[in-house]
């Protein structure tokens, strides 16, 4: 045997000159590597908390031949849930498609009213789920169970209803409470944003404070989501009066309360003289809204632009202060208006 002979290590000595790129386990050619690595344990690109859906089991709106064979109240099922804004996601399986759409609160209330004719359950979706794709017939009940990630063997809405009712976390919902919940969250947010006052702003002259607040209030009531809320409140006033009351109590009342406090302080300083600060605050807000708000609510015109809002607020504030300011305060620079300003303000109010 040749003394120089030795065992060859095939792994090291027979390896090619250019090392082969080691295949990254799990990575797929063509997909950005960072995306492949950023999938979560469920294989998803984004990790979202499981959403809560309102599953509405409802009677049919049109008669169908098969209706006698299913539960009287649970002939159809659809799912919906509110988004952060004034919109709702709706998933409704039709005969020939599955409708996935985003509805305004006004349209969502129609579906909630339909839900009120049957049963509404609040169900948390299961992630990653235990649903089964091979169900044969993907009707409304099957698709809703798949949305919820539930393993289910039923083909009827009532079967799904009974299955969900057996779960511990599933809650029955009252439709009016749902509408109130939606109204409250929207109104509270708008109100908090509009009525936020820094200590520096409160210390400013009354005219500046009123202008600042007035501007915020007009922008809040002209916000598209708040306008829709107002329309819904009017439409559903008869059926869901508690929900309509929320609109007034959560949106208008806090604004009046904040303004009342500001006017009381001004009155204590001797800047203004009014019989009732609360009534004056209420009238100030009524002046801000005026016909313009009604016209926008009724879609007779577009919401005002920023310049139009500024002109209106300036006009209202100067008009209001002319009516309530004491002689002492009127002598101050902040309360004076030139004749030209008054003419401009009158035009702004008329517009």
């Amino acid at each position: 045997m040749n003394p120089t002979a030795r065992d060859i290590d095939s792994k090291t000595e027979w390896s090619p000159r250019n090392p082969v790129h080691k295949k990254t386990p799990g990575a797929v050619p063509g997909v950005p590597v960072d995306l492949s690595y950023s999938v979560d344990q469920n294989g998803s690109l984004v990790t979202l908390p499981p959403a809560q859906w309102l599953i509405c089991f409802v009677p049919g709106l049109r008669k169908q031949w098969w209706h006698p064979f299913v539960n009287a109240k649970h002939k159809h099922v659809f799912a919906m849930r509110p988004l952060d804004t004034a919109n709702w996601i709706l998933i409704e399986p039709w005969w020939t498609r599955v409708m996935v759409t985003v509805l305004s609160s006004v349209d969502a209330v129609k579906f909630l009213r339909w839900g009120a004719c049957g049963d509404v359950l609040r169900v948390r979706e299961a992630v990653p789920g235990r649903g089964n794709q091979a169900r044969g017939w993907s009707n409304c009940a099957v698709l809703c169970s798949f949305i919820l990630g539930r393993a289910s063997h039923t083909w009827t809405p009532h079967g799904l209803y009974r299955q969900l009712c057996r779960e511990e976390d599933v809650k029955h919902e009252n439709v009016e409470d749902l509408i109130i919940e939606q109204f409250t969250s929207m109104a509270d947010k708008a109100s908090a944003d509009a009525l936020r006052l820094d200590p520096e702003a409160i210390a400013a002259p009354l005219e500046t404070v009123l202008t600042h607040l007035g501007r915020n209030i007009v922008f809040a009531v002209m916000d598209p989501s708040i306008l829709q809320l107002g329309r819904t409140a009017v439409i559903e006033a008869e059926r869901f009066p508690r929900a309509t009351r929320v609109y007034s109590e959560r949106l208008i009342t806090p604004a009046i309360a904040t303004l009342t406090r500001i006017l009381q302080d001004a009155s204590a300083r001797g800047d203004i003289k009014v019989q009732s600060c609360q009534r004056a605050a209420s009238e100030f807000i009524a002046m801000l809204r005026g016909n313009m708000h009604l016209e926008v609510v009724m879609e007779l015109r577009e919401p005002p632009c920023a310049a139009e809002v500024d002109a209106r607020v300036n006009a209202v504030v100067s008009g209001f202060l002319r009516g309530v300011a004491t002689k002492k305060a009127s002598g101050n620079k902040s309360f004076r208006n030139s004749a030209r300003d008054e003419s401009t303000n009158r035009n702004a109010l008329a517009g």
Partner: protein
């Protein structure tokens, strides 16, 4: 005044539209994204290399995107902010993206046996389809008049720019690649998709 369910039903029935729905909505455009899988699966060798999965997404206007994606064990319908939507778009740029308008009232079929991502996307779009594969749906859609191939690189650039902007509700432009390879400008904002 207490209301009765039958009164509400009668009221609702009177407000049904021609398609039998409570609200009449216009057909919207979806971005239908045919993509390779993010993780290797044993069955990937039997399907098209870049069309192994399909999902649909569309903008909702105010910084939000709606993404409908069929998982193995559930149907995910989620609203995503711009940054998260950007991840899905980057994934989509690895495959092909078609912009297709959903069909109202639809011609799809419930009894397809296996409701996988391709079948559920066809159901979302209201399309009658006999295929069970994403690539089959792609071939079905790409031959339809009105369906356009989206240049995702251009859209990604727009989105990356938008994700840095504070005001997203400005009018945007999406470059749309025509079948002959030419590019054409088409408006792309939330309103346009609604």
């Amino acid at each position: 005044m207490p209301w009765q369910a039958k009164d509400i039903l009668a009221d609702l029935k009177s407000s049904l539209d021609g398609n039998g729905t409570l609200v009449s909505l216009r057909a919207v455009d979806w971005l239908v994204c045919f993509v390779p899988g993010l993780k290797q699966e044993w069955w990937h060798r039997f399907v098209h290399p870049t069309h192994q999965h399909v999902f649909a997404m569309r903008p909702l206007g105010a910084r939000l995107w709606l993404v409908v994606e069929s998982w193995k064990n559930r149907l995910s319908v989620a609203s995503l902010d711009v940054l998260d939507a950007l991840k899905f778009m980057r994934w989509a740029s690895a495959g092909d993206v078609l912009r297709a308008k959903e069909h109202l009232p639809g011609r799809a079929w419930h009894t397809r046996g296996w409701s996988n991502c391709a079948v559920l996307t066809a159901l979302l779009l209201g399309r009658r389809s006999w295929t069970w594969t994403p690539h089959g749906l792609y071939r079905r859609l790409v031959n339809e008049p009105g369906v356009i191939r989206v240049d995702m690189d251009a859209l990604l650039r727009e989105m990356e720019q938008l994700s840095r902007c504070t005001e997203i509700d400005t009018v945007k432009k999406m470059r749309v690649k025509q079948t002959d390879g030419a590019t054409d400008g088409a408006p792309c904002n939330g309103e346009e998709f609604r």
